[in-house]
Amino acid sequence: MSAALVALAVFPLAVALVSWRAPVAASKALTVASGTAAFVLSLALVPGAASGHVAAAGSLLRADSLSVVFLVPTTFLYATTAVFAAGYLHDGSSGERRRYGRRFYAGTNLFCWAMAVAPIVNGLALLWVAIEVTTVVSVLLVAIESTDRAAEAAWKYVLLASLGLGLALLATTILYYAGSRVFGPSYDLTYAKLLSPAADRFDPGAVRLAYVLAVLGYGTKMGLVPVHTWLPDAHSEAPTPVSSLLSASLLALSFYAILRYFEVTERSAGTQFARTVLLVFGLASLALAALYLLSQRDLKRLLAYSSVEHMGILAIGMSFGARIAIVGVLLHVLAHAAAKGTAFCGAGSIVRKFKTKDMARIRGGAGLLPVSGPMFVAAVLALSAAPPFGIFRSEFLIVTGGLSDPADAVVAILVVLVTLAFLGLSWAATRTMLTPAPEPHAHAAGGDPSAASVAAAARGDVAAGAVAALSPPAGVGTDLTRGEPSWLIVVAMAAGLLALAVLGVHVPGQLSELLHRAADQIGSAR
């Protein structure tokens, strides 16, 4: 088992280094292999973590139930995104294309490595380091298109995320200080120490301060309102596979960091405090995101705000505190990852087809994209918590947990806001996918795709979107014929939908055991 941990911490890094030099086609295959291997390895960790914890490499790596709950979706997305990216990125033999491909694959692998390492490092200091690495790499990935809009998004992202991580580092320091009362002036912030009974005697004032700083700091990366402002920009301007990783995986990992602080805080500073802080941020996020979902024009921003919404649901679910709600929250992490990953794959397919992210220009997607279109609709429905998918089950558990507490008003607000979000998402999906396709003569008038638009498409979706924005409606020069841009995208989406259905219909035994154990670990303060 510990070999699996070490392998997880080494292989993606090695692949990242190799793909910096290797030809793009090789890195493509290597990334898919590495993602799949990582997913299998993380699944192999499930039984061990469900019954205890796995440690490796001295005290550097440690996987307990909570870690693995977050590790599994991360590696799952690594695998599916690798497949998706293989289908989504254009091949090209020009020097610029090759450079782009190298950068993209080296960056993506490094990004996935940092995200896979974050939940399995042992201790809050290393966790901070890992999350900082994710920021640094993902900023470069957001800026990779080097358009005006990408530069703007990257700047906002790097600034806000760095500020947030600055606060998180302060939180780490102050928590260390709080613990020095128990463990003496020199110790390391490992989870074994933080979860030991001695942690109950941490200085409560310092722990409170650290907790609030951590929620604000990591919350910036998680996309909690009011520190979410970078999120829609970065998600919409990054290449779609990167958006998918950001949205489905990175946000959840920041939530993982907050949960680590939550565990300590509820023991030493009281559960009520820890929950109230999360409740406030969660409600704000959910409310704002639900409103923005109703009036969104950009497809990728739509999905980004949906992430803000789901992060709000996670925070609110934690604040309920009932065991069943916590199980729901953890399941929600898994299900949201699968659903958001699939939705972004679908968005990638749509963007490839229509060469725009503007939803006013996307019509008849289900007809033009015979497989990925309906699958996108299914993913969006899953995101808005329709049965039989996993998010339905997890939100159901969260609401049940909320009702078992005397927090009825919050539950009511939660249900109303989730319904609003459902309206926004399903309206968007309906008008883009289930409408009649534009008249075929529109593109016939454009004739053959000009060399310029091919080049634009080759640069990725953002540049193409800009071209589409300049061209007349109905997209002159786009190829609006029925058919899939890439079957690899369909494979990735199918994997995601399958995972969603499994989580929704019946959570496999060991996974369910894992979730319950993690919930017990978090809620052990009661």
Binding site: L159, G166, D188, G205, R208
Partner: protein
């Protein structure tokens, strides 16, 4: 245990404001206050280059603080950290940013959206809030003093003000660096015995962050031919 309870007694006495602090505590606090003052100076510095010099000065103060802490607590590792931060934060980072500015050949005057007085007053208000917050949570330590922590939080908040009120990329980046210095002060004051490996990891992370800031700055400058962030408002909704 007996030792620490005696230390607790001493520190409890130290909590009464009028009693004198230890020479070490006082020195450390003065250096921390210097860091805070340089953050204020950054708020009012109109020229982009002078801000970078102020950052170098601020980092120097942090280096001095690590040396002071190392000397009083006899932590050999911290000397190494001090040396490393000197090289990185006082020499390399300011040099990199200055070089980048030379290449960019743009407006040397930074942005001044608000008057100096306004910014200073806002800075004063937030640092008062920071000092008050740390005071209000009643930190009690048996091993380490807390006053420096309050000042460090104030530094962090003033850096926030700098980032929010200035609208050019250099000021904002310098704001982040200064925030990081504030966090360094905090970790030196309250967590000076944190295993050195973490401290070094933090430092290298900063360096990487600098590189990324630099890259994004260059992309921005390459696209917009300006260092101002006024026009970064295309993405909305």
């Amino acid at each position: 245990m007996a030792v620490s309870s005696r230390a607790a007694g001493l520190l409890a006495a130290g909590a009464i404001p009028a009693s004198p602090p230890s020479l070490y505590g006082g020195l450390a606090d003065v250096v921390a206050v210097l860091v805070l003052l340089s953050a204020f100076a950054m708020l009012r510095a109109p020229m982009v280059r002078s801000q970078i010099r102020l950052y170098a000065f601020q980092s120097l103060a942090v280096v001095v603080l690590s040396a002071v802490v190392a000397a009083t607590h006899h932590i050999g590792d911290l000397y190494a950290l001090a040396g490393l931060s000197f090289v990185l934060k006082v020499v390399v980072v300011p040099a990199i940013v200055l070089r980048m500015l030379d290449r960019a050949e743009v407006d040397i005057a930074g942005s001044t959206a608000h008057s100096t007085a306004t910014m200073t007053l806002i800075g004063l208000a937030v640092s008062a809030a920071g000092l008050f917050t740390v005071g209000a949570v009643h930190l009690r330590s048996t091993v380490l003093p807390v006053a420096g922590l309050a000042v460090a939080v104030a530094v962090v908040l003033v850096s926030f003000v700098l980032i929010v009120l200035r609208s050019d990329v250099v000021s904002q980046a310098v704001g982040f660096f200064s925030l990081e210095n504030g966090v360094s002060v905090a970790s030196l004051v309250v967590a000076s015995r944190l295993p050195i490996i973490f401290e070094i990891a933090f430092l290298f992370d900063l360096l990487v962050a600098v590189v990324v800031f630099g890259l994004v700055m260059r992309v921005h400058h390459g696209r917009a031919s300006t260092l101002s962030t006024e026009d970064l408002d295309r993405l909305r909704g």
